[in-house]
């Protein structure tokens, strides 16, 4: 049993294809994690990297406390079940299960005990003397499971184990694998393209597409709070209905217009608090998403009732899937106007009927038409407010605070972009906490300040209580007519560098005598400064780029403003100015044509040297944009 940690994992093939991009995840002990996604999304590649069957191009893969990037599969303490069973055809079931144990040179009695026990758990005792070809698909997959569980691994890896079975057997085996997980109390990582398997088995699901992680969450949260249109469409059967449309706020209501068909309904603004104001301007196109079960046949006219012309239906016994179009004139349902909903009332519905259907607006999903990201994120990243700057003071929603020198701008009206994490517990501002919710370990507090809603993630408040807070002004943005007037302090600096080899002479004492010998050191060279790389860093660079490429490739050091310090020697920088946020001061320097910000305790001028803290500095290969360290 073990935790599995994947940090900035990449898989890049020699031809440059990125199969897995910056995969980050921490898998808890005994979790049942499911990787799901369409073919070619990188789910199996990720699993095979965990198994050790594929090399990790970059990143850090940990099983338990051990970094296993360069560890043989057999030494990773994992077991794997393959999609095509991969049983040894010339061996009996007994020998198949015992093969790994024999290679471990376990005593014969122990092997027998484990094989019989596994066979008993999986109900294949009577087949132990048979060969795989004499067994059915389901039985063979049990043998493959048996071969995995006798190894008593820390992590069980299952690569689409049920996709070769028929529907009935799949359902049965699904339940058996879940039971097996409960019984073994081991970490399971399961790959499937079947969202039903993912939803029914996983404690958490990783949805992937084109090598990128789309969302990691529990099955329920994935279903209820998809972060983008892909997740919304991939999870749930039948697929979520999507309509193109626009939203226009009018007071406490928002008018939702469906494109092409002229349908309009009114949504209370309270349901769209988390949406950015730009989506409520009546012009920005959005995708309106509603699941089939959130649409029901309306008994009476209401504010969220629309007409649907039925095109056809699918009887499923306990419910009917009704397909149609929301075009009032009816006709063939196509593209943005097509709709599907579930009817459980059992009423007689015929093609050509025009029905009134009610939309459950509290279950509404909205997605940006361009980015396809949710317009209603569970944790809003930013608060969007109108504000005014007057005499060096910022006024918004009835609150007021002094702007530091770094944020000074001309008096006038601006739009304030306030990140949810810029609202800090210490401060003089006061607001009422309207609502508090815990989302994936983050406490989201909805503040009411002068009738305006603000979302904060760093506050410890109780709903209904007054709370004091401050604002980290380093993170705010002020814009006027779309032009950025005050920019936030960059979270990270980037400095171009190269990976170099240096030959040096080192002295060491052997039997009381000083000996000089030649040595090779590897390190990073930026703006003429050389920083020796740690052994781990050197290993990671060579593992990611091979033997020759590291010395010719371009890299950049990525470090925060607090991870760079002014030093006696180091990266040559030219001070361009001092940025003051009250007591906090930062130097704005120029390094190789890039602007770099460094926390400083006093003012400097002219040429200085900077030294990065390599414990906290990342290294990115520029060409392929891969974070290697």
């Amino acid at each position: 049993m073990a935790e599995v940690s994947l940090k900035h994992i990449y898989k890049v093939y020699p031809n440059g294809t990125k199969a897995v991009n910056d995969f980050n995840m921490h898998i808890e002990d005994k979790e049942f994690i499911v990787f799901v996604g369409p073919s070619g999304c990188g789910k199996s590649t990720t699993l095979r990297m965990i198994a050790g069957l594929e090399d990790v191009s970059a990143g850090e893969l940990k099983i338990g406390d051990l970094i296993v990037n360069d560890v043989e599969p057999k030494d990773r303490d994992i077991a794997m079940v393959f999609q095509n069973y991969a049983l040894y055809p010339h061996m009996t079931v007994y020998d198949n299960i015992a093969f790994g144990l024999r290679l471990k040179k376990l005593p014969r009695e122990e092997i027998h005990k484990r094989v019989v026990e596994a066979a008993d758990i999986l109900g294949i005792t009577e087949y132990l003397n048979k060969k795989p070809k004499e067994m059915s698909g389901g039985q063979r997959q049990r043998v493959a499971l048996g071969r995995a569980i006798v190894r008593e691994p820390k992590v069980m890896l299952l690569d689409e184990p049920l996709s070769n079975l028929d529907a009935k057997l799949r359902t049965q085996m699904r339940a058996e694998i879940s039971k097996l997980h409960n019984r073994l109390q081991t970490t399971f990582i399961y790959v499937t393209h079947d969202q039903i398997e993912a939803m029914t088995m996983g404690t958490r699901i990783v949805v992937m597409k084109n090598g990128f992680v789309q969302q990691i969450d529990t099955p329920k949260n994935l279903y209820n709070y998809p972060e983008n249109r892909f997740v919304a469409s991939f999870i749930g059967t039948p697929q979520m209905n999507f309509f193109e449309g626009t939203l226009k706020r009018e007071g406490d209501d928002v008018n939702m217009s469906f494109a092409d068909c002229g349908v309009r309904i009114t949504v209370p603004y309270s349901a769209l608090y988390k949406a950015q104001p730009k989506y409520l301007d009546g012009k920005t196109p959005v995708y309106i998403g509603l699941r089939a079960e959130d649409i029901t046949i309306a008994e009476a006219d209401g504010r969220a009732v629309i007409k649907v012309a039925v095109s056809h239906k699918e009887e499923l016994g306990n419910e009917t899937l009704v397909y149609g179009t929301i075009k009032p004139e009816g006709g063939y349902a196509e593209g943005a106007a097509s709709i599907v909903f579930k009817d459980v009332s059992g009423r007689d519905i015929k093609a050509g009927d025009v029905l009134d259907v009610a939309l459950r607006l509290e279950r509404l999903h909205l997605f940006d038409k361009d980015t396809e990201m949710s317009v209603l994120p569970r944790i809003p990243e930013y608060n969007y407010l109108d504000c005014e700057v007057k005499g060096g003071r910022l006024e918004f929603a009835g609150a007021e605070l002094a702007l530091p020198e770094a944020c000074r701008c001309a008096d006038g009206k601006y739009q304030l972009l306030l990140p949810a994490d810029a609202i800090t517990p210490a401060g003089e501002l006061k607001a009422k906490a309207d609502d508090c919710e815990e989302i994936n370990g983050v406490k989201l507090v909805a503040l009411n300040i002068g009738g305006t809603r603000l979302y904060a993630v760093n506050l410890d408040a109780a709903a209904g209580k007054e709370v004091s807070f401050g604002i980290d002004l380093k993170k705010i943005t002020l814009t006027a007519d779309g032009e950025c007037v005050v920019a936030p302090m960059p979270a990270e600096n980037e400095i171009d560098c190269r990976f170099v080899k240096r030959k040096t002479v080192v002295t060491e004492e052997v039997n009381g005598r000083i000996k000089r010998k030649r040595a090779v050191r590897f390190g990073f060279e930026a703006e003429g400064a050389f920083f020796e790389a740690s052994d781990t860093a050197v290993q990671k660079i060579f593992a990611a780029l091979g033997i020759k490429k590291p010395l010719t490739a371009k890299f950049k050091l990525v470090c925060g403003v607090y991870d760079l310090a002014v030093a006696e020697s180091g990266i040559a920088a030219k001070v361009e100015g001092l940025v003051c946020y009250g007591a906090e001061k930062f130097l704005r320097c120029s390094v190789g044509g890039r602007d770099i910000y460094v926390a400083a305790d006093r003012e400097y001028c002219g040429d200085i040297y900077l030294a990065p803290d390599f414990e906290k500095t990342g290294v990115v290969e520029t060409e392929r944009d891969i974070k290697i360290i």
Binding site: E72, A86, L87, K131, R147
Partner: protein
């Protein structure tokens, strides 16, 4: 609607089958007649040399076989050939199987160019390098030596990788991967997983590895030149036909020797053909 006349499917099939069989029978006869002639001539008791204008012997006898084993060096040559063939078979089979497995499973730089190079080199007849090989062997004192012959036959074994590799490619890689996770080394996977599944191709490799040196004449005649005790059967038997007097005397003995030479290959094939079956991987993966 006008009734369209269709050709009878059964009649067509029967006619085409009959034609195919007729052609096959003719080809078989052409192929088998010399072999039967050889067997029949080996039992001819009368000494009429090569000029006889009849086929069936007037006097059936085993004299040719007795003379073969008592009055000629045939048994020595037979032993030489057997020794060379068996040693070459063992080494060549091992080398071909290992090369093919490596080329099928391992991915390394220059793998494809190496495979192409080996394929192209294999297309050139071996005797092109005969003179050079002879001088190399002479330098290391391996001419008129069976070890030299074994070296020459074994040296280019790896070039025959392509059929064997094709077979290994059909064995699912997931078997290797499952075994790697089970803790098997590459060697264990090769010996315990792949070889038991590769019986048909092992048999094929053994047969081809045995047949080639068994009947090879050109290299052995060149390397063993001048020492009749080191001759292989092909070289020795050819020496009987070097002049017309000897050819006339040894003609029927030659036929008897040819029959004896064909026995090991026939026996080997009969013995190994029971392993020469398909479907050995049944049940390992979803088919």
């Amino acid at each position: 609607m006008e009734n369209k006349r269709y050709r009878s499917k059964k009649l067509w099939e029967k006619t085409s089958l009959a034609l195919i069989y007729a052609v096959l029978i003719i080809i078989s006869l052409i192929w088998l007649v010399p072999f039967f002639m050889l067997i029949i001539l080996s039992f001819r008791g009368e000494h009429v040399g090569m000029s006889a204008d009849y086929l069936f012997p007037k006097q059936w006898s085993f004299d040719n076989y007795i003379k073969l084993f008592t009055e000629t060096k045939f048994l020595t040559w037979y032993g030489n050939t057997m020794l060379v063939s068996v040693v070459v078979t063992v080494f060549q089979t091992v080398i071909v199987l290992m090369t093919s497995y490596a080329l099928s499973r391992l991915r390394f730089k220059m793998r494809k160019p190496l495979m192409n190079l080996m394929l192209i080199l294999g297309m050139f007849p071996g005797f092109l390098s005969m003179t050079a090989v002879y001088f190399v062997l002479k330098e290391i004192n391996l001419t008129q030596n069976l070890l030299g012959l074994m070296l020459v036959y074994t040296a280019s074994s790896a070039m025959q990788y392509y059929i064997c590799k094709g077979f290994f490619d059909t064995i699912p890689k997931s078997l290797d991967e499952a075994a790697r996770i089970d803790g098997a080394s590459r060697h264990t996977i090769f010996v315990k997983i792949i070889l038991p599944l590769a019986k048909p191709i092992i048999i094929y490799t053994i047969l081809t590895a045995f047949i080639a040196p068994w009947g090879e004449y050109m290299f052995s005649s060149f390397i063993m030149l001048g020492d009749p005790d080191k001759f292989t059967v092909a070289v020795g038997m050819k020496s009987w036909l070097d002049n017309s007097t000897m050819a006339s005397e040894y003609f029927t003995v030659f036929c008897a020797a040819a029959v004896v030479v064909s026995i090991p290959i026939t026996a080997l094939f009969i013995w190994l053909q029971r392993y020469y079956v398909e479907g050995i991987t049944g049940g390992s993966v979803k088919g």
